[in-house]
Point group: C2
Chain length 280, copies 2
C-alpha cells in the first residue's frame, strides 16, 4: 500500500470534543495526526507523521500533506482510475478547492497523473452550481467523491443535489457517490438510500469497500441509475481489460478486480435489513 | 453494533514506542484506550472509554473490560456462534487464560452464553499441549481464535502447531485460524499460507472480514482441510438454517449471511497475487 496522501477536513463546523484535537495535528500525540469528529464519537484514528511536507488553510478546509494515502476528487485519484478506460471520450472534473489540485500535483505526481489525460477538463468551482447549468442528459456517468456531510460537502448528500445529478444524466445513466460507513453511519446511509430511491427511478444499490486509513476501516458508495435501460451494478457488462493500452500504461490495478467488484455489493445482515427495506 | 468487549494484549514482549501507550490505557489520550504495537507501526487506534468495568493482569496478558466489542476464544463468542448449529454433537474449548472466561461470564452474559450449551466442555490450558495428546482424527473442525503472533500466541502461527492440528483432524476435516490483516501483515500472511500449504493437503484458502475496532479495520482467516473428501470453503454444503430451533433461540444473526460468506473469499489483487502464488 502507498502511504502518502492528502487529508482534507472541513476548516469550519467541526465541534471540538474537548481534547483539542478536532483540527487534526495534534494536541493529542505529538508527531501524530489524529482524526476525531462528531461523525465518529468515541473513536480516534491516528497515523504517525514521518514528515510534514505541506500545511495550509484554504478557503474551504485545512489541507495537510504527509505520508499517508487518502484519495479524493481534486487529488486526481478518481481521474487516474477513470482514465484507464479507452471507451471514455470526455472527462469533466469540478473541484471546489484549487489548493487540493495544486498540492496533489506538487507532492503526488503519481496520483495527480489523471489531470494529464487529454480527455480531462478541469473546472474549479462549486459542483452544485456546475450541475445546475448542465444541459439535461449530458452525462453517461457522474462520480461524486466528496468529504463527509458535515461542512462544505453537506449539500452533496441532499435531495436537490441528487435531482440535479439525475437531470444531468442520460436515460439509464449512472451515478456513484460517497456514502459513509456501515459501522458508523447507518442513520445517514438510511437517509441517502431513501433520497436516492425517490430521485433515481432505475436501480439503487449500496456497495462498500475497505480503506484502512478511514475511521472504522470501511467506506460505502451509492450506485444509482436513472429511468432507462436497466443497469445491473453487481455484474457489469464491461470488465476492465488488462490488455487495453491505456490501462497498461497506468500499471496493474492494485486493489480492484471483478471478484472484489462483485463482493462489494454483499452486505452484512444488519445493513442489508435497513438498505433493502428502502431499495430495489 | 454492540459496543462492549474485552481487549486482550500480551503483557510481555510488546516493545514500547516511546509514547508510554504500549500497555493501552492511556498515557496518550486521558480517558481513551489506545492500541499501538510494533505489529502496526505508525498507527494507533483509540476508543473512548465510557467506564472501566474491570482492569487486571493475568499470568498471560493484560485483561481490560470496557464498552467496546472484541470477540475472542475465551470470551465465549465463537462458542455462541458454533452453538447455533444443531448438527454439532460435542464442542471442546481450550483456553489458556481462565481470567478471560471469568471476566466474560461476569460482564458479558450475552457473549458468554456459549458456555451454557450442554455440548461444551471447557479445558483451561495450553492449546499446543492439548492438541499433542489428542488421538489422531478426533475432530471434524478446529477453530483457532488467537491473539497476534507477538507474545503467548506465537506458537499458534508456526508449522509444528499446524501439524498437530492436521493430526487431530479426521480426513477432510477443516481448520479456521486467525490470519491477520491484508493491509498490515502481508509478510506474516505469506508465511502462514506457505506453512499451511505444506501441512494441509486438502484446500487452503484465505478469507477476510471487517472489524471496525481492529487496526486497519479488517481481519483475516486461513481455512484449510486435510487430505480427504474435497472441501469448497467458498460455497459451503450446509447453509445456516434460520428455522433451526437452536439458532432461533440465539436471535437473528447480525453480520453473517450466505452472500457475506461468499464475498469474504474475494481478495484485492495485491493480496490475491501473493496468496494464489502459494495456495490452490
Amino acid at each position: 500500500m502507498e502511504e502518502e496522501g492528502i487529508v482534507k477536513r472541513p476548516s469550519e463546523g467541526g465541534e471540538s470534543n474537548g481534547t483539542g484535537a478536532a483540527d487534526g495535528i495534534s494536541a493529542v500525540i505529538p508527531g501524530w495526526f489524529s482524526e476525531m469528529s462528531p461523525m465518529w464519537p468515541g473513536e480516534a484514528h491516528s497515523l504517525k507523521v514521518e514528515k510534514i511536507l505541506y500545511q495550509g488553510k484554504s478557503e474551504y478546509q485545512n489541507v495537510m500533506v504527509f505520508e499517508v494515502l487518502v484519495i479524493g476528487g481534486g487529488d486526481g485519484g478518481v481521474l487516474r482510475e477513470v482514465s484507464r478506460y479507452s471507451s471514455i471520450e470526455q472527462i469533466d472534473i469540478c473541484e471546489i478547492d484549487k489548493m487540493v489540485v495544486d498540492v496533489s500535483k506538487q507532492f503526488f505526481p503519481n496520483l495527480a497523473v489523471g489531470f494529464e489525460d487529454p480527455r480531462v477538463n478541469l473546472h474549479i468551482g462549486d459542483g452544485v452550481a456546475f450541475l445546475k447549468v448542465v444541459p439535461v442528459g449530458t452525462y453517461d456517468a457522474v462520480i461524486v467523491d466528496s468529504s463527509d456531510p458535515i461542512g462544505p460537502a453537506q449539500e452533496l448528500f441532499e435531495k436537490p443535489f441528487f435531482e440535479s445529478v439525475a437531470k444531468a444524466l442520460r436515460p439509464g445513466g449512472v451515478v456513484c457517490t460517497q456514502a459513509e460507513s456501515i459501522w458508523l453511519h447507518m442513520h445517514i446511509i438510511e437517509d441517502i438510500v431513501s433520497n436516492c430511491r425517490q430521485v433515481f427511478k432505475g436501480s439503487v444499490k449500496y456497495a462498500w469497500t475497505t480503506v484502512p486509513t478511514y475511521p472504522s476501516g470501511v467506506i460505502g458508495f451509492m450506485l444509482c441509475s436513472t429511468d432507462g435501460p436497466p443497469v445491473d451494478f453487481q455484474n457489469p457488462v464491461h470488465r476492465i481489460d488488462e490488455r487495453d493500452e491505456l490501462n497498461k500504461t497506468k500499471g496493474p490495478l492494485k486493489f480492484y478486480n471483478p471478484e472484489i467488484h462483485y463482493a462489494s455489493f454483499c452486505l452484512p445482515s444488519f445493513a442489508k435489513r435497513v438498505i433493502s427495506s428502502k431499495t430495489n
